[in-house]
């Protein structure tokens, strides 16, 4: 095994690993500051912040020969016998000078900069910069440039690391951004008439180590230190990207990608990034409602009387039992735990209940970018998980189309349709097939032609408001916690099913997950604690003896 010496301590790296000095030093617990280097982009070694002293230890004699000048850590491979010095006086002075040089052209408008609090320029200046400045600097307001529909460039805050330029060339493959002018007059810009408008554009804002690129959706909304973050999974498509939901006082303010080498690497698409606004849509269903006698045949909220959730738990079961043959659509927006409990509830009401995977929304085709990132056409996060759950109860996998045909054929007296889609999903004609039922339970985020025909109209929870496990298109199961509380009057689906199953206490998705893992071989991988990056469901874990 190759051995690298970092500040005097020897660490082993893998024989076939290709690490640079920044990565090798990180293994030894030493953080080398860097701006322009990013693990997902090519190396340019232009910021000069990661300059370190290196050398080579002779394998035979053990004699160390140092390189006489500083070298960029991002560009220097760490191999057997490489000596890395990250804390010498030479390195420390060099970092302070780089910081000083960067700040000469910087507006230092931290109080009004949205990046303040998560800015590498601030952090590194605090850690490596000089306490006093030698140049006579005055804060000024940065020039602002509109580079695209979602991104604003604050020209003078830029430190020319070119991460954003490399991203558009290497990952999104669109190449809108470029560097204009030379030397101290270098600036990021777009070609006239070609704005930064691609489906991954928002990532340049995350990549920017300073406050130069601002997300218009988030600009001026909150200071970052007010935000709390929860590790979550994007519900926008079946890729199931790992994200951080950043929120304050139960309001989501932005979504950020969470590094996951198995799923999304460091990126998310703009569709997912801005796909949280429906959570705070004022037109969401906010109370459980039961159709009144006078409301028969009418649509709209006035046709429903609000019902307390405790009564819903009792009355729903009785109503469905009285109605007779039950058909249930298990939405691919539900978590594995919720889907499993819903199937259990349905089968406890009607042992012959017809179980089907709910409507699977599809838009366009899978789109893969040059950097390997793929946006899936299937706009739901958990089809595979729900399919596997339904298969536990009914070996015959049925789709939404089968369920509609089943109901149209007069084979059901009651239907329970779970939805929770952020966009409109059902047309009036399809919804009409459900008109003749004695009981129709619809659980959805918004009103729809189907909800207008419902006997029970129940609100659903959004993606950040539920906890559980989703299985993405590559069979990777990721467990996540609830980020924000649902609006007042909304019970997440899991809580309703938990109570309908007569289980005591608060809904505990982890307990349900462990129960599923213990009872079904298909979900055996979900036993125990899941890693933050998720686990491949096809991986059959061997029980420790």
């Amino acid at each position: 095994m190759p051995v690298v010496i970092v500040d005097g301590s020897e660490i082993e790296i893998g024989a076939d690993e290709r690490l640079n000095c920044i990565e090798a030093a990180r293994r030894a617990g030493k953080e080398i500051p860097h701006y322009c280097w990013h693990p997902g982009l090519s190396v340019v070694a232009s910021c000069r912040m990661c300059l370190i002293e290196t050398g080579q230890r002779d394998a035979a004699t053990g004699k160390i020969t140092m390189v006489p000048k500083l070298v960029p850590g991002c560009q220097t491979p760490a191999k057997d016998g490489t000596v890395i010095v990250t804390e010498s006086q030479l390195v420390t002075d060099s970092r302070a000078r780089v910081e000083e040089a960067l700040l000469i052209d910087h507006p230092i408008d931290c109080p009004i900069c949205d990046k303040a609090g998560e800015c590498l320029l601030q952090d590194y200046h605090f850690e490596h910069g000089q306490a006093e400045r030698r140049a006579d600097l005055h804060p000024f307001t940065s020039r602002k440039r509109d580079v695209g529909p979602t991104v604003t460039l604050f020209v003078d805050r830029c430190i020319m690391c070119t991460r954003c330029v490399r991203f558009t060339r290497e990952v999104s493959g669109t190449g809108e951004l470029m560097v204009t002018s030379r030397g101290a007059k270098e600036e990021i810009d777009v070609f006239p008439g070609f704005p930064l408008d691609n489906k991954l554009a928002g990532n340049v804002v995350d990549l920017c180590p300073v406050g130069a690129l601002g997300d218009k959706d988030f600009l001026y909304q909150q200071r970052v230190w007010f935000l709390k973050r929860e590790a979550n999974v994007c519900g926008g498509c079946s890729a199931g990207c790992s994200i951080h939901t950043e929120h304050n006082q139960d309001t989501v303010y932005r979504l950020k990608p969470r590094e996951n080498p198995h799923v999304n690497k460091w990126w998310i698409c703009d569709e997912g990034r801005y796909g949280w606004h429906h959570l705070h849509d004022p037109s969401r269903l906010l109370a459980a409602g039961h159709r009144t006698e006078s409301g028969r045949g009418h649509a709209g909220t006035e046709a429903f009387e609000p019902v307390e959730w405790a009564d819903v738990v009792a009355r729903l079961r009785a109503d469905l039992k009285a109605a007779g043959r039950l058909a249930v659509a298990v939405s691919p927006m539900l978590t594995v735990e919720e889907a499993w409990m819903l199937c259990a509830v349905a089968r406890s009401i009607d042992p012959e209940a017809f179980l089907a995977v709910g409507h699977v929304p599809v838009a366009g085709e899978d789109e893969t970018f040059p950097g390997g990132f793929t946006i899936r056409a299937e706009k739901c996060p958990n089809r595979l998980g729900v399919e596997a759950v339904v298969a536990l109860f009914d070996p015959q996998t049925r789709t939404w189309g089968d369920l509609v045909a089943h109901v149209e054929g007069g084979n059901a007296d009651a239907a329970w349709i779970t939805a929770g889609y952020p966009a409109a999903w059902i047309d009036d004609a399809t919804a009409g097939s459900f008109a003749g039922l004695r009981q129709l339970v619809v659980q959805d985020l918004f009103d729809s032609p189907l909800a207008a025909r419902a006997t029970w109209r129940l609100p659903a929870a959004g993606f950040a408001e539920r906890a559980g496990t989703w299985v993405n298109v590559a069979h990777r199961a990721q467990a996540f916690e609830q980020a924000i509380k649902p609006p007042a009057g909304v019970w997440p689906e899991g809580r309703l099913y938990w109570n309908m199953l007569g289980r005591r206490g608060l809904y505990d998705p982890v307990a349900v997950r462990h129960q599923i893992a213990g009872s079904a071989a298909a979900f055996a991988a979900l036993a125990g604690d899941l890693p933050a990056t998720g686990i491949d469901l096809r991986l059959q874990q061997l029980a420790p003896s």
């Binding site: 408008d109 109080p111 009004i112 307001t141 602002k144 001026y220 909304q221 200071r223 007010f226």
Partner: protein, 177 residues
Amino acid sequence: MKPTDPAITWLEEKPLGLAERLYLPLFIQGLTTTARHMVSPKVTVNYPEVRPTVGNPLIYRGVHRLNRDDEGRVKCVACFLCATACPAHCIDIVATESPWPDREKYPESFQIDELRCIFCGMCEEACPVDAIELTSLLDLTGKSREEMIFDKEKLLSVYDMTKDAEPMKSSALGGTL
């Protein structure tokens, strides 16, 4: 800082002298203070009939005001630092892009809940542009809780009311202006 830090100088308490051990001199010293206060002029006033005098209005911590700049615009740049520093969480700001070219953002709404405020002056300390200041207005009354939530217009009107008696501290006390 650890107790073993070389920057710390540790001092030993002096042993008690004869006077301290006798106790009587200190007793007399204390009684003298009491007697001095009995004959010194009174500082208590019959408020509200008599208004108390504020020593230095520039450092008094009364009702807040939002300062205006030379052009009469609100000085605040909506950086949220006052709201961050506020231990009572009584400041609520909604920021938006400013309509002026020389300023990036400004407060669309700026509210202070005067009932929640503890008048600690941290907002004033935190402000990087000396936009929020505490005036020497010390009696603050209202008929309802809603009335005591001061919005931007009201805070600016406090500035208009007090700007002559209490000029902005920026110039007088070496602020950034």
